[in-house]
């Protein structure tokens, strides 16, 4: 599904990603962990098509296509979804209008007719129930005045609406209390299918109690320094990141 090969990227001339290689197959959940500043969010931004990030080297292939050549909106329509670490507030744009426009753009891309108003509202209702989002939130402007937890739940709701093939969740768990965390994780688990994949970027192991990853990567200083099964997350929780940092600096890991 997704093959990242020796990806290097910079923001405002500063090298952030220093050669990342990674393959995600259909049905897999990958967790990317790592200390602050290691490049996790930059990786998510590159995959989603943020122009702010400049790719200097390497390739990203998505279903055989060169992902880096695609505009952000085309990536979305091809099934990539980014759950933002800091969802943006957009005053004056209603959630309903936002989602209707997005869903219909996706449908048009697939050669389908736009949804009728009643079908769309029905879909909204079903997905709201699925991710346990307060139905009042959908009547407000996008993220405006939402609490941190509401914003994150709203990301999961949007993911449910758009049914992506590859969802990248950028620290969706940060700042969530345990109830919100459970709702977010349940949303992911309910949406998981054999043909779609997740990249879950997280700082904490806690989320991985609810979302069980197939693979855990540790990102440090722009490189993936360790890849293992889900037990790696527990080890990190126990030992912290200093252990990784020390190993990298002592060149024990390659």
């Amino acid at each position: 599904m997704l093959i990242i090969n020796n990806l290097k990227a910079a923001i405002a001339g500063k090298n952030i990603l220093k050669g990342i290689s990674l393959e995600v197959k259909p049905g897999e959940i990958h967790a990317i962990m790592g200390p602050n500043g290691s490049g996790k969010s930059t990786l998510a931004a590159v995959l989603a098509g943020r122009e702010l990030v400049e790719v200097t080297e390497g390739t990203v292939t998505y279903f055989g296509e060169n992902l880096l050549k695609m505009a952000a909106e085309d990536r979305a329509k091809e099934g990539i979804f980014l759950g933002f670490q800091y969802p943006i507030e957009i005053p004056g744009v209603s959630m309903v209008n936002f989602m209707k426009t997005a869903v219909n753009e996706h449908r048009e891309h697939k050669g389908l007719d736009p949804l009728s108003a009643s079908d769309f509202l029905k879909m909204m209702r079903e997905k709201k129930e699925l991710v346990e989002i307060d139905s009042k939130l959908a009547n407000r402007s996008v993220n405006e005045g939402f609490s941190g937890g509401e914003k994150k739940k709203n990301e999961i709701f949007q993911m449910a609406m758009l049914e992506p093939k590859l969802a990248i969740l950028d620290e969706t768990d940060s700042g969530l209390d345990i109830d919100a965390l459970r709702i977010v994780a349940n949303g992911v688990n309910k949406l998981k299918r054999p043909d779609n994949s997740f990249i879950v970027i997280t700082h904490y192991q806690r989320l991985l109690d609810y979302i069980v990853p197939d693979v855990v990567h540790v990102l440090y200083d722009g490189r993936i320094v360790k890849t293992a099964g889900k037990e790696l997350a527990l080890e990190l929780e126990e030992k912290g990141y200093d252990w990784i940092k020390n190993e990298v600096e002592n060149n024990i890991l390659t």
């Binding site: 122009e51 952000a72 909106e73 979804f81 005053p91 004056g92 209008n97 997005a102 753009e105």
Partner: protein, 452 residues
């Protein structure tokens, strides 16, 4: 004086040549204001950029021009007016169609609506309601700096009069559709007076449309009296072509515990200047002044707001927004004056603008003069581009960049539109703004002039 330019001379001559004709069709009481106003105009002249409140607006392109058609109300039946149907679905309003600011027909120039509200020609009203006219006419439209207000008082021959007697509540708004049409270039001045007495409630929608592709200049003055505990809303929809210049001066005088709101929706026009004067003349009065404009090509839109807190415990809120495309220009000047006795004042002002190109230009100037100490005041002005983070957020959901931009601009504009209390009109404004942003004509279906 600084105003004695050649342009001003043009209007001094115009007055001398036409004053007899104008006076002949006007009420003697209204005529009695003309000479003094003319002297004041002679002193102040047509505002130039030296005038602080017109610093960013060049009036000469419209004032330094020979107009063929002036002032006079058309007395013949106006066929188009009869044919004109506002196509705002579900807008249940008392409709009135004016031609160039005047009543187009000679019949029924002053009528009473079922609820007891009187509406009609100012000249007619001066005969029927001399007491009301004497009490309010010329009492609120005052200025020591703006010659245009005096130019209007000296030469305006008629306009709309509304009288909402004490305790009368008009559940339906009055909608005035003002059609601007002439076969020749035209300069037009009208004068409106709206009286909303104690405990009354009234809202009015004024829609301006240009119907013929000539050069138009309008200089209109509206005086509003809002009595104790009365409620008043005025909504203007300005949709004129690029060769039209519209200058409005609106003076809203409020008594204690009254609530007034004004909403200026400027969708299209060559040069637009709206001056709002809010006088909070009694304890506990509230006023809300909103404005939105969308400008492109060489258009220029200037909003001037003056809120005068003269009594304690009054509230005022200004929200003005502008979206400027191409090489359009705009100005905002918002003044809040809190007089020494106006303790417990709450006064807010916000002016946000989006420039869509490098060539568009906006000047914004907040002006706070506070002479009381127990006051809560805030103001904020921004001029910027679209938020790239928000743009990316929308794109990341599959919305193409062009559509995403439109959504953001629309959302920006909607924050002003949402303050319109009349729902069908609010929806129509949303749609007109959407059409306008898409580059489609934002005119109503009945209008036959292409504004682009």
């Amino acid at each position: 004086m600084n105003g004695k330019s050649e342009v001003t001379e043009r209007y001094l001559t115009l007055y001398k040549e036409n004053i007899d004709k104008i006076s002949a069709v006007s009420s003697p009481y209204i005529n009695s204001f003309r000479e003094a106003a003319f002297e004041k105009f002679r002193e102040l002249g047509i505002p130039t950029k030296k005038n602080e409140t017109y610093k960013y607006t060049n009036l000469n392109t419209f004032f330094d021009h020979d107009y063929k058609n002036y002032f006079m109300p058309v007395t013949s039946d106006f066929v188009k007016a009869e044919e004109f149907r506002c196509d705002v679905a579900d807008l249940d309003a008392h409709g009135i169609v004016l031609l160039n600011g005047f009543y187009p027909t000679i019949n029924e120039k002053l009528r009473q609506l079922p609820s007891g509200v009187w509406i009609g020609s100012l000249n007619e009203a001066a005969e029927k309601f001399p007491g009301q006219i004497k009490k309010h006419y010329g009492k609120y439209a005052k200025s020591e700096t703006d010659g245009l207000i005096h130019l209007n008082t000296s030469m305006a021959s008629d306009g709309v009069f509304v009288y909402v007697p004490e305790g009368v509540t008009l559940t339906k708004p009055v909608q005035i559709v003002n059609l601007v049409q002439s076969d020749d270039d035209m300069f037009n001045q009208h004068r409106n007076l709206i009286i909303v007495e104690k405990n009354a409630e009234f809202s009015i929608i004024i829609c301006d449309h240009t119907l013929s592709p000539r050069k138009f200049l309008t200089n209109a003055v509206t005086e509003v009296f809002v009595g104790e505990n009365a409620h008043f809303d005025i909504i203007r929809v300005q949709n004129e072509h690029n060769a039209a210049c519209k200058i409005t001066h609106t003076f809203i005088h409020q008594e204690k515990y009254s609530v007034a709101s004004s909403n200026n929706m400027t969708l299209h026009g060559g040069l637009i200047r709206n001056s709002m004067f809010h006088y909070l003349g009694g304890e506990g009065a509230e006023c809300y002044s909103y404005g939105l404009f969308l400008a492109d090509k060489w258009q220029h839109v200037d909003n001037f707001v003056n809120v005068d807190h003269a009594f304690p415990h009054c509230t005022s809120n200004q929200l003005f927004k502008g979206v400027l495309d191409d090489m359009s220009t705009g100005a905002f000047n918002g003044r809040i004056l809190v007089r020494p006795d106006a303790q417990g004042t709450l006064a807010y002002q916000k002016n946000n603008n989006i420039l869509l190109t490098d060539d568009a230009k906006m000047d914004t100037k907040p002006q706070l003069e506070i002479y009381a100490d127990d006051v809560k005041c805030s103001h904020g002005a921004t001029i910027g581009q679209l938020d790239n983070d928000a743009l990316f957020y929308l794109q990341s959901r599959g919305i193409n960049k062009h559509e995403a931009r439109l959504m953001l601009i629309f959302g920006f504009a909607h924050e002003v539109i949402q303050n319109i209390k009349i729902e069908p009109l609010r929806e129509r404004m949303d749609n007109l703004v959407k059409q306008r942003l898409k580059g489609e004509l934002s005119r109503c279906a009945s209008c036959m002039v292409k504004c682009g």
